[in-house]
């Protein structure tokens, strides 16, 4: 919804968020990711850290979406306006997603840097951005869902971090290693299939696979549906 988008850009929270995001991006890419030392003109080091950055930053964006409405009582206002719940959920989600997208767009200097230093594979850069944007959306949909559960932003934040961490770690080698020892291979691949990381890795490398796309969109779809179900049921009681 437009209100949310406008709300983000008028509130200082948005700027704080963007600045922190950019600073951390730079920090991880250059210091920890050893951007220069790898001697390669690509953005692997940059995208590699996104799942972890998003883990803490995206829940901070999503947590207020419904929790605030509940706390301020404005939920009674919007749910009695002539708009359907689905429109509200999508509106809020899209606004926040676009906001995250604009934060991502603002990382463009790093693309320029790479282009200046060498000959990067722009295809990989673009799929990397698409993957990063989709992953942000998936995190955000979890945030929307937990936000509709509670009136407290803090609870929503923590829940989102925990759920997203689960999604992340499901594909992390130590975790999959833990399963491979005893579980059948199909279970391992299912668990792995749930991971954000697993689906992000391809795009990071420049491969835009339909399966990854479907995965992210279905995570978002599922979480937003859950969001709707929660809203309806909390209204009824």
């Amino acid at each position: 919804m437009k209100r949310e988008l406008a709300g983000y850009f008028t509130s200082p929270v948005a700027y704080v968020f963007i600045v922190i995001f950019l600073l951390l991006c730079g920090f991880f890419t250059f210091s920890i990711g050893r951007f220069y030392e790898t001697g390669q003109a690509d953005l692997r080091a940059f995208f590699e850290w996104h799942p972890w950055l998003f883990l803490f930053l995206v829940p901070a964006v999503g947590m207020r979406l419904w929790a605030d409405e509940r706390r301020d009582g404005t939920i009674e206002l919007i749910l009695t306006l002539p708009v359907s719940v689905a429109e509200l959920i999508f509106g809020k989600f899209l606004a926040a997603w676009l906001f995250l997208g604009s934060a991502l767009v603002l990382t463009f200097p790093i693309v320029i840097t790479v282009a200046y230093l060498g000959e990067p594979d722009f295809g990989a850069v673009i799929t990397g951005y698409i993957g990063s944007f989709l992953m942000a959306g998936a995190y955000l949909s979890v945030g929307c869902m937990t936000s509709s559960l509670t009136r407290s932003q803090v609870i929503s934040f923590i829940l989102t971090v925990v759920i997203c961490l689960f999604f992340l770690l499901a594909g992390w080698p130590p975790v999959t290693g833990f399963f491979t020892g005893w579980a059948p291979a199909w279970l391992v691949s299912i668990v792995e299939g749930f991971s954000f990381m697993h689906h992000f890795a391809d795009m990071e490398r420049g491969v835009l696979d339909l399966r990854d796309l479907v995965y992210y969109l279905s995570v978002m779809g599922f979480m937003l549906m859950a969001n709707g179900v929660i809203l309806q049921s909390r209204r009824a009681s």
Binding site: K2, R3, A6, G7, T10, S11, D72, G73, T74, E76, L77, I78, L79, T80, L81, P82, V83, S84, R235, A236, S237
Partner: protein
């Protein structure tokens, strides 16, 4: 026309609203009265589509609030309890947002927003953030939101709660002005308000309607209805009481107050619709008793309210 049919709401085991039915037509201002937790807000929330009813339904302008919720909501203006508004928005941005959601565009939207701002006396604060507003302004912002689309049906949950007497007066006169061509339902704890703005009163207790009358009819239920209260200053009250009790049409005379050589008495007529004023005035004139003042009471709403909503007396 709002038509409420057997509206029922259950929260778990608790029955909050128990089969309420009534109709309100254009030009009526219906006041919802009742003790806290009687089901007033829940009923309003169901009519506005915020809470789905457990059973029963309501028709707003012919649209069913359950099956045709969006159509019904389009016709309603709703001021929820505690007047919520987005704290981080300015007044004008908030109203603009509401206007947009209500489907107004371009020039009409700007015109509506500024007309509503004028109407609700919000000009001084139009660029101020909602979170910085005083309670009175906050209430008016939310009120503005409810009337922005000039709805046929206006539903307000405690519209004057937390306002000072001047602001209350303003809001009430706005409500009265709009009443001609709208259907209005409001809830209140303020009995004086019922008297000033409502054309009809529904009293709810424990989720049921216990009275549905005009304010005058309600007051007529009061035991003080039709009694004459008067002050005499140069006579002994005992003598006056004894003398008056024998008069035609006077059932009883009680002393209700005294001070500085004056006595205030209350004469209860044997028939509330037959006035006793004349009899009392003549009695006093004949005996040279100085009558300082006298008034005939219409009855007191607060007393009727207590009487009706007391758990043991539900027969009205």
């Amino acid at each position: 026309m709002i038509e409420v049919k057997e509206l029922t709401k259950r929260f778990g085991q608790k029955l909050a609203v128990d089969g309420i039915s009534f109709k309100v037509g254009k030009g009526e201002v219906l006041g919802f009265l009742g003790p806290n937790a009687a089901g007033k807000s829940t009923t309003m929330r169901m009519i506005t589509g915020y809470l789905p009813p457990s059973s029963g339904t309501a028709l707003v302008g012919g649209y069913d609030i359950v099956r045709n919720s969006l159509q019904a909501r389009r016709r309603i203006g709703y001021l929820p309890e505690n007047a919520p508004a987005y704290p981080d928005m300015t007044v004008i941005a908030f109203l603009d947002f509401i206007a947009e959601v209500r489907g107004f565009t371009g020039r009409e939207r700007r015109a509506r927003v500024s007309a509503t701002i004028d109407k609700c006396f919000l000009n001084d604060v139009r660029h101020q953030q909602v979170s910085t507003l005083s309670k009175g302004y906050n209430q008016r912002v939310c009120f503005a939101q409810a009337i922005l689309h000039d709805p046929e049906y206006l539903i307000m949950d405690e519209p004057t709660d937390g306002l000072d007497p001047n602001q209350k007066h303003e809001v009430r006169s706005m409500i009265r002005d709009m009443a001609k061509d709208k259907t209005i339902i409001l809830s209140t704890h303020n009995l004086e308000e019922v008297d000033v703005v409502c054309t009809r009163v529904i009293i709810i207790a424990s989720g049921k309607i216990v009275a549905d009358k005009t304010p005058l009819e309600l007051k007529a239920l009061s035991e003080f209805h039709g009694t004459a209260c008067f002050t005499v200053c140069n006579a002994e009250p005992e003598g006056v009481i004894a003398g008056m009790e024998g008069l035609h049409g006077v059932k009883d005379v009680l002393k209700v107050g005294e001070g500085e050589g004056r006595f205030t008495l209350r004469a209860i007529p044997s028939d509330p619709s037959a006035p006793v004023a004349e009899v009392i005035v003549r009695y006093c004139l004949d005996r040279g008793i100085r009558l300082e003042n006298m008034r005939i009471e219409e009855g007191r709403l607060d007393e009727v309210f207590r009487q009706i909503t007391r758990p043991d007396q539900r027969a009205v």
